[in-house]
Each structure stands twice: as C-alpha cells, then as structure tokens.
C-alpha cells in the first residue's frame, strides 16, 4: 500500500475514533434526526390527503430528511474537531512530518464519510422497522448509502474549508444555523409542486438541498427515477468539488503560514 494511503487511513481512523469517544457526537446525530422525523411524520400525516401528494405515508416521504440532516450534523461535529486540531497546533505539528496536505484532507473527509454511512444504515434500519419499504428495493438501499456518501462529502468539504479558513471551533459551530437555513428553505416537508407560496417554491427550486432530498426521496417512494438521482448526485458533486477546491486552497494557505 502506498504511504499516502496508509497516512490517509491513519488520519481517517483517528477522526472516527475521536468521534466515537465522544458519546454526544455519536448519539445526537443518530437520535435527533429520528426525533424530528417522528414529530414531522406524526404531525404532518394528514398532509398525505392533499390532492397530488406523492405517497400515503408521510414517514416514507420524510425519510429523506434525516439522511441530509444527519450528514449535516456529522459534518459540523467532525469539522469542529478538525478546527480544534488547528487551534491546538496538531496541524502545525503534522505539517512538520512527511504527510502531504491533500492526504490530511482526504483522511479527515474519509473518517467523516465512514460516520455518515453508519448513520445512514441506522436511519434505514429504523425506517424499515417502522414499516417503510423502499420502492427501489435492495439495490435502492445501496444507492441510498452511496448518495449519503456523496451528500456527506459535499457538506464535509465545505465544513473543512470553514475549519481551515477560520481555525476556530466557534466559527464552525456557527455554520450550523447557516446550513439549516438551506434545509429549512427546501422541499423537506412538501413536494415542490405543492408548495403554495411562490417565493418559497422559487427558493426551494434554486436550493441544491432540495435536489439532495428529492434524490433520496425518489429511491424511497418512487423507485428508480434517473432525473431525480442525476440531479441529486450533480448537486452533491457540485458541492463537493466547490468545497474541496476551497478547502484545498485554505489548507495550502494555512500550511504556508506555518
């Protein structure tokens, strides 16, 4: 195995172990999205009686939200730790070793993605236990996890950029409400064609988070919808590329400063 891969694996393992050692960082991203799902699925169940609503189970409809929300929460937690590495000087010490900057970033993102996949499996198991059946079958479950990886990668890259750019745990924590704006102003609770308020529907349409949610949702309630999946992966890929470019630049600047 090449030294870069070994280094990335070591850093990724470190990110996972560090998260696992903080129960709040493990339990909260697992439980909170499920609680919100339970609340929304219970409270908005009658919304399935609206003409044109795509399914008769709001639980199935809303299942996409924990996947995106969980990726967000995992990203915030992991990047707070990454910012702590910068604050405590760990990154500076690492810069003195032969580890390449890009390996550091890949290791950090790899650890986070592993956590996101574990979360995704958890959400899926809970949903199946409560009677949700994936319209896309077993293959859809695999695709769902791949999509979760892509979504987590997109958010994680942006979070890593924030951590590297600011080097402050508070600043990364401050991203939480910013990310949530995008979640709230999306099609998370209502299909876009059923959103009545014009400006909200417009915002939801230009919001990439809507496409992430709709891609996951399509696998759950529709089956294999190429357009929804394509748009979802495109949105996640775009976020990843954009975030990774920013993070790489910020890493280069930070290592240059040290």
């Amino acid at each position: 195995m090449s030294p870069s891969l070994v280094q990335a694996a070591t850093l990724g393992r470190r990110a996972i172990v560090r998260t696992a050692r903080q129960p709040a960082n493990v339990i909260f991203p697992l439980i909170f999205p499920m609680l919100l799902l339970a609340v929304n699925a219970g409270g908005l169940r009658s919304a399935t009686r609206l003409p044109g609503f795509p399914t008769d189970s709001f639980l199935a409809f809303a299942l996409a939200v924990p996947f995106v929300q969980g990726a967000l929460l995992a990203t915030i937690n992991a990047n707070v730790e990454f910012a702590r590495d910068i604050q405590t000087g760990f990154l500076n010490r690492l810069a003195l070793t032969p580890v390449r900057g890009i390996v550091l970033l890949v290791g950090q993102l790899g650890g986070l993605i592993t956590i996101a996949v574990v979360q995704g499996v958890f959400y899926l198991v809970v949903a199946l236990a409560f009677g949700v059946r994936l319209a896309s079958g077993v293959g859809g479950a695999v695709m769902l996890l791949l999509l979760e990886v892509a979504i987590a990668l997109g958010f994680a890259a942006l979070g890593s950029w924030a951590a590297l750019r600011t080097g402050s745990t508070e600043a990364v924590q401050g991203l939480f409400p910013v990310f949530f704006v995008f979640l709230f102003l999306s099609s998370m609770n209502m299909p876009r064609n059923l959103i009545q308020t014009d400006w909200f529907r417009w915002v939801a349409t230009i919001n990439p988070v809507s496409y992430l949610i709709e891609a996951v949702r399509s696998l759950v309630i529709e089956g294999w919808n190429g357009e929804a999946l394509g748009l979802g992966f495109a949105a996640a890929g775009g976020l990843s590329l954009f975030g990774f470019a920013l993070a790489t630049h910020a890493l280069w600047r930070r290592l240059e400063r040290t």
Partner: protein, 256 residues
Amino acid sequence: MNDTVAVARGVSWRVLHTFFTNPAFLLPSLAFPLFFFTAFAGGLSRVSQIPGFDFPTGYTAFQFVFVLLQSAAFAGVFTGFGIARDFESGFMRRLMLAAPNRSGILLGYSFSALVRWLTVASVVTAVALLARMKIGGGGVDLFALYTLALLLNLAGTLWATGVAMRLRTQQAAPVMQMPVFLLLFFAPVYVPLDLLQGWIHGVASVNPITPLLEAGRGFISGAPELALASFAIAAGLIAGFCFWAVRGLRSAEAAG
C-alpha cells in the same frame, strides 16, 4: 430587598450587554424562530387545504402562535446556556461570592431572558405582519397571547436555570434543550389536534403545551378557548420550575 434588586440588575445588565453586543448570541436567537416561521408558514401553507383544517385566520397566524411560544421557551433555554457558560468560566463562582443575596442571581437571569424574548418576539411579530398575517383577536386577546408566551418564557428560564445550576457545564445543553424541544414539537404544531392521527394524537392530548398552543391560537383568531386552563398550566409550570431553580441554586452553593 435592595440587595436582591441590585444583584438582579447587575446580572441582567451583564447578560443583556453580551447578548446585544455579540452577534454570536444575538443572531441564532433571532434566526431560529424566523427559520421556523418561514419554513412552516411559507413552506407548509398548503396544509391549510387539508380537509377539516378550519383555522379562521389562516396558516400564517396558525404557525405564528407556535413560533411565538417556541421563541419564548427557547429564550429561556438559551439563558440557561449562558449560566452554564458562566459556571465554566468561573464567573459564577465570583458572582456567588460577591452577591449579598443570591436569589437576585435567579431574578437577574430571568429578567434578562424576558428582555431577550421581547426582542425576538418584536422581530418575529414584525416579520409576521410583513407577511400579511391576519389577526382576528382584539387588543385584550393579543395581550393575553403575549402574556401567555411571557409566562412560558419564565417557565423555560427557570427550567434551564435549574439544570445549569445542578450540572454547571455547557455539556448540559442537550439536557436543557431536548425536553423543551420535545414538549413543543409533540404538540399540534402543523395541524389542529383533531387532525392529528395515531400515536402523536395521544401524546399531544396529554402534552401540557397543547392547551397553551390552542389557547394562543384562540386568542389570535378572536375565538378564545382554554384560556383559564392555559394560564393555570403556565402558572403551575412556573411554580414547579421556580422550586427546581431555587433548589438548583442551593445545590450550586453547596458545591462551592
């Protein structure tokens, strides 16, 4: 008495100064209720077309009451976060040594939570009015609505203060936040109680926040219902959490 007021004034000035001068505290307090209001009133307005949904003043007013009560409770919870922070930084220890009457500490935090909420409520109300929210209730009804929210703010503050005084760490934030979040969201948030189905209907029926929410919606639509019950519940919550907060203060004193 003078000592209590002096301590309360000092504590509340400090908290409010930090709140109004530090965007990291001010913005989330304002942003979260606005997110909820925008997402619910804007994104879910179609819910008002569900058969059986008959709230007279429309979905914006229906959601405004929830957001107002939620902002009130959470202004109290955020104050609890500040108390925990003061314990971690060592400020509370110095404050307890310096305060001639420590009850003033509780009073000061409670007053500052009230001012924080009034600020947030003003912004949320302004946004709701800009969004052309319809109001069916008169002046007395609206006064009752805001009084009810104010009482919930006090109850939320006393709850979070009790937790912060006992655990004395910022890691206690979920303990302060989660029960409040669950109580609020296991009420009829999106549709009236009658339209809830399944387990959530059962939970909402016994949730003490449900009568507050229904009374608030009654006030804003000009058809008050459950007014007496809601104020009695709010008074009960305050009495219980006052005891909880005072015992917490004694626990913090005993811990040194």
